[in-house]
C-alpha cells in the first residue's frame, strides 16, 4: 500500500452533527478532509415515511430511535441491560440529527462553571463567551428559529427565522406559565419557519422525528454536508471503523474500516478526529488497543468511556377538555421553561432542570400510549386524549459519575464482528430529587393552564437522546481525556469533537453546544496546520 498516496490531512470518523460542522470548516480553509461514515445517505423524499399512510408504524421499525429495536445492518447493538435509560441514535449521513427534534438551546454560562459556582463536578476549560462566536456561526449554518431577548440567556445575535408557531395548544400552555409568573420562551429551534438558505419553511406536518421530507428541519445531511462536499470534503459512506492504529511513536496513523462489501480497508491520515457520538467514540477508542495503549487509545487517565451522562427525563402529561389541534406543527413545540434551571440552595438538590413542551401525540401513538384500553371503553378513552394532551419533557442535569460508563461487551458484536458497547448507568439521588421537583412544578403549570387530569412517568426509559461525557475535556491529563481543543492528552494528532468531550451536561439539549465546540476545535486544527 502506498501510504503517502492514500493519506489525507484530516480524517473524521462520523458524519453526524459534529462531524459535518467540523468537515465543512476544514474544507472551507482548503484542508484535505475525508469523513468515514458507517451509514448511508437517506433521500428525504423517498426514504422518509411521512408521505405514506403507515408513517406512524415506522417509529416501531426502521425509524425507531433505539438501534437495538431497529437492528439494521448499519446499526451496532448496545447492551443496555444495566441502564434504566436506553441510548438512542441514528447511523447515517446526518447522524442522529436525522431523528432529532431540532431543539437548539445553547448551554448557559453557569453550565461551564459548576465547580466554582456549586462545588460539584468540574469547570470546563472553556467558557460560554469563548464559544459565543462559534455558536453564532453554527446558528447561521443550521438556520435557527426563535426570538432574541430571552432573560435566561446573555443577549444573542438575531435568529435566522421567526419562532415556531404556538397554535391553540401553545396559547393554552403559555397561559399557565403566565398565570404563575414563571419563565417561558420559544426555544431556539433548528427548523426553517420560513424559506432560508435554499431550504423551504416548515409546513407544520408534525413528526420531525421521522425525518423531514421537505428539508425544513436542519439535519446536517441538508445543512453542512452539501456545502462541505462542494468545498472538497470527501465523504465515504458504508465505512465502519473498527479501530485506529498508531505508529511506533504513539501517533495516530490510520483508521481500519469495513467497506460496503465487508472488505477491510485502511485509511492513513496526518490527523484523526472522532465524531462518532458519546457511545460510538469511546467504543472505537476502547477497541483500539496496542502494546503502547493496552487499555485503549488515549486512555492513560482510565476515563475513556467513564462519566456517561444522558439527561434523565420525566414526562408530565396534562389532559385538557377541548381540542387543541395538537397534531398541527412540529411535535416538539419548542417552548422552554428555565424557571428552575439555576441552583437554588433552598432546594434539596444542586443544579437544575428545564422543561420543554411537546404537542399532542399522533393517532397511533395516542392509542398505544398505555392509557387507551381495548374493548367497550376504547373510543371514549381515545377521544379523551387525542389532540387534547400537552406534554412536558422535564430534562434534568445529571452530574458526571465514573460508575456511569461505556465499556466493551465481551459477548456482543456488530454485523462485522466489531465488539459492541455495554452501558452501565444509575440515576443519582440528586437527579431523582431534581426530577421529583420537576414533576411537581410541571403539574402546577398544567393545572394553571386548565388541565383536567395530569399523569407522569418519573423516568422515561426510551430517552437516551443525549450522549455525553465519555472522553471528558480538561486541563489535567490525569483527570481528563482531551484538552480544551478536543486534542487527546496522550496522542497529539488525535481529536474528539462529539458530545463525549462534555465536562458536565447542563440541562438543555446538547447539539448546539456540540457543534459550536466542533467549530472551535476546527479552528485550532486549521491554525496548527498553517
Amino acid at each position: 500500500m502506498d501510504i503517502e498516496n492514500n493519506k489525507v490531512d484530516v480524517l473524521v470518523i462520523g458524519a453526524g452533527a459534529s462531524g459535518a460542522a467540523f468537515s465543512w470548516k476544514l474544507a472551507k480553509s482548503g484542508i484535505k478532509v475525508m469523513c468515514l461514515e458507517q451509514g448511508d445517505w437517506l433521500d428525504p423524499l423517498t426514504d422518509y415515511s411521512t408521505s405514506n399512510s403507515d408513517w406512524e408504524i415506522h417509529r416501531q421499525t426502521d425509524f425507531n430511535p433505539n438501534p437495538n429495536f431497529r437492528s439494521m445492518k448499519v446499526d451496532y447493538p448496545i447492551n443496555d441491560t444495566e441502564s434504566p435509560i436506553a441510548p438512542l441514535m441514528y447511523n447515517a449521513v446526518g447522524g442522529s440529527t436525522i431523528h432529532w427534534s431540532a431543539h437548539f438551546p445553547r448551554l448557559k454560562p453557569s453550565d461551564f462553571r459548576v465547580k466554582t459556582l456549586d462545588h460539584v463536578a468540574d469547570d470546563w476549560p472553556i467558557s460560554y463567551f469563548e464559544l459565543e462566536p462559534y455558536f453564532d456561526l453554527n446558528d447561521k449554518m443550521m438556520g435557527v428559529a426563535g426570538i432574541i431577548g430571552d432573560p435566561a440567556y446573555p443577549p444573542k445575535s438575531p435568529r435566522q427565522t421567526p419562532p415556531v408557531g404556538l397554535g391553540k395548544l401553545g396559547d393554552k400552555i403559555t397561559h399557565g406559565f403566565d398565570k404563575l409568573g414563571w419563565h417561558w420562551w420559544p426555544s431556539d429551534s433548528a427548523i426553517n419557519t420560513v424559506d432560508y438558505d435554499g431550504r423551504p419553511g416548515c409546513n407544520n406536518c408534525g413528526p420531525c422525528d421521522l425525518g423531514c421530507s421537505i428539508k425544513a428541519k436542519s439535519s446536517t445531511d441538508v445543512t453542512y454536508w452539501p456545502k462541505a462536499i462542494k468545498l472538497g470534503a470527501r465523504l465515504v459512506t458504508n465505512a465502519r471503523v473498527r479501530e485506529i492504529t498508531v505508529d511506533r511513536y504513539g501517533k495516530a496513523k490510520s483508521a481500519i474500516y469495513y467497506d460496503s462489501d465487508g472488505n477491510i480497508q485502511e485509511q492513513y491520515a496526518s490527523t484523526i478526529v472522532l465524531a462518532a457520538n458519546g457511545i460510538g467514540t469511546p467504543r472505537i477508542l476502547l477497541n483500539s488497543t496496542s502494546t503502547k495503549f493496552p487499555e485503549g487509545l488515549a486512555n492513560s487517565s482510565g476515563l475513556v468511556g467513564k462519566n456517561l451522562m444522558f439527561h434523565p427525563y420525566s414526562i408530565v402529561t396534562g389532559i385538557f377538555d377541548e381540542d387543541l389541534e395538537g397534531h398541527k406543527g412540529p411535535t416538539p413545540l419548542n417552548i422552554i421553561c428555565s424557571e428552575f434551571y439555576e441552583t437554588d440552595h433552598s432546594r434539596d438538590f444542586v443544579r437544575g432542570y428545564a422543561y420543554q413542551v411537546v404537542r399532542s401525540s399522533a393517532p397511533l401513538a395516542t392509542a398505544l400510549s398505555g392509557h387507551v384500553p381495548w374493548g367497550e371503553k376504547h373510543h371514549e378513552a381515545f377521544k379523551k386524549r387525542f389532540n387534547r394532551t400537552i406534554t412536558f419533557a422535564v430534562i434534568g442535569e445529571d452530574l458526571p459519575e465514573t460508575h456511569n460508563k461505556v465499556t466493551i461487551d465481551p459477548n456482543l458484536s456488530d454485523s462485522f464482528g466489531i465488539p459492541s458497547p455495554k452501558i452501565a448507568y444509575r440515576l443519582s439521588d440528586n437527579s431523582r430529587k431534581m426530577l421529583g421537583h420537576g414533576v411537581k412544578t410541571a403539574t402546577q403549570v398544567m393545572k394553571a393552564a386548565g388541565a383536567t387530569e395530569v399523569t407522569h412517568d418519573p423516568l422515561k426509559r426510551e430517552a437516551g437522546w443525549h450522549l455525553m461525557g465519555t472522553t471528558k475535556m480538561g486541563a489535567d491529563p490525569k483527570d481528563s481525556v482531551v484538552n480544551k481543543y478536543g486534542q487527546t492528552h496522550d496522542v497529539d494528532n488525535l481529536f474528539v469533537i462529539d458530545g463525549s468531550i462534555f465536562v458536565t451536561a447542563g440541562a438543555v439539549n446538547p447539539t448546539s453546544t456540540i457543534q459550536a465546540l466542533a467549530l472551535h476545535v476546527a479552528d485550532h486544527v486549521i491554525s496548527k496546520s498553517k
Binding site: 411521512t50 453557569s110 408557531g165 406536518c205 374493548g375 373510543h379 377521544k383
Partner: protein, 144 residues
C-alpha cells in the same frame, strides 16, 4: 391470507372487532382489513408469526367462536394476563392497522392524508405578546 389458516383468521376477525368495537362513523377493524394487515405483518416476521399462530390456536382450542360475546371477552381478559406477550403484540398490530387507515384517521377528525406533502395550517397563536412580561421580570441567567 398469506399465513393465517381459515380458522385462525376467522378467530382473529372476531377478536379484533372486540378489541376495537364499531362505533358511529368509526368502522370495526374487520371492515377495513386489519386482519389482512396483521397477516401481512406476521408473514414477514418469523418470531411474530409463531407467536400469533400459536396464540390463536390456543384460543381456538377453547372453542372461542362458539362462545357468547360476553364469554369471549372474559376469555380474552384471562388471556391478557396468562399470555401477555402475545396479547401485547395482538393489541399493537390491531392498533397499528386501525389507526393508520385513512378512513379511521378521517373519522377521528384529521384530514385523512399523511402529514406530507400537504402539512397543516398552524395558527401563529396570540401569546407571543406575553413574552414582554417575562422580559420585564429581568435576567435569570447566572453570570459566573
Amino acid at each position: 391470507m398469506r399465513t393465517l389458516s381459515k380458522s385462525n383468521s376467522d378467530t382473529l376477525t372476531v377478536i379484533v372487532d372486540l378489541l376495537i368495537p364499531k362505533k358511529g362513523s368509526l368502522p370495526s377493524p374487520s371492515d377495513i382489513n386489519v386482519v389482512e394487515h396483521i397477516d401481512d405483518t406476521i408473514s414477514d416476521a418469523p418470531q411474530l408469526m409463531r407467536l400469533f399462530v400459536e396464540g390463536l390456536r390456543d384460543i381456538n382450542d377453547k372453542d372461542f367462536l362458539s362462545l357468547q360475546e360476553k364469554e369471549q371477552i372474559d376469555l380474552l381478559q384471562k388471556y391478557e394476563c396468562s399470555n401477555s406477550l402475545f396479547f401485547a403484540e395482538l393489541i399493537r398490530h390491531t392498533y397499528n392497522g386501525y389507526y393508520t387507515n385513512p378512513i379511521v384517521v378521517r373519522a377521528i377528525g384529521m384530514t385523512g392524508h399523511p402529514p406530507q406533502p400537504k402539512g397543516y395550517n398552524l395558527e401563529q397563536g396570540n401569546n407571543f405578546k406575553l413574552l414582554e412580561k417575562v422580559r420585564e421580570r429581568g435576567q435569570i441567567w447566572r453570570n459566573p
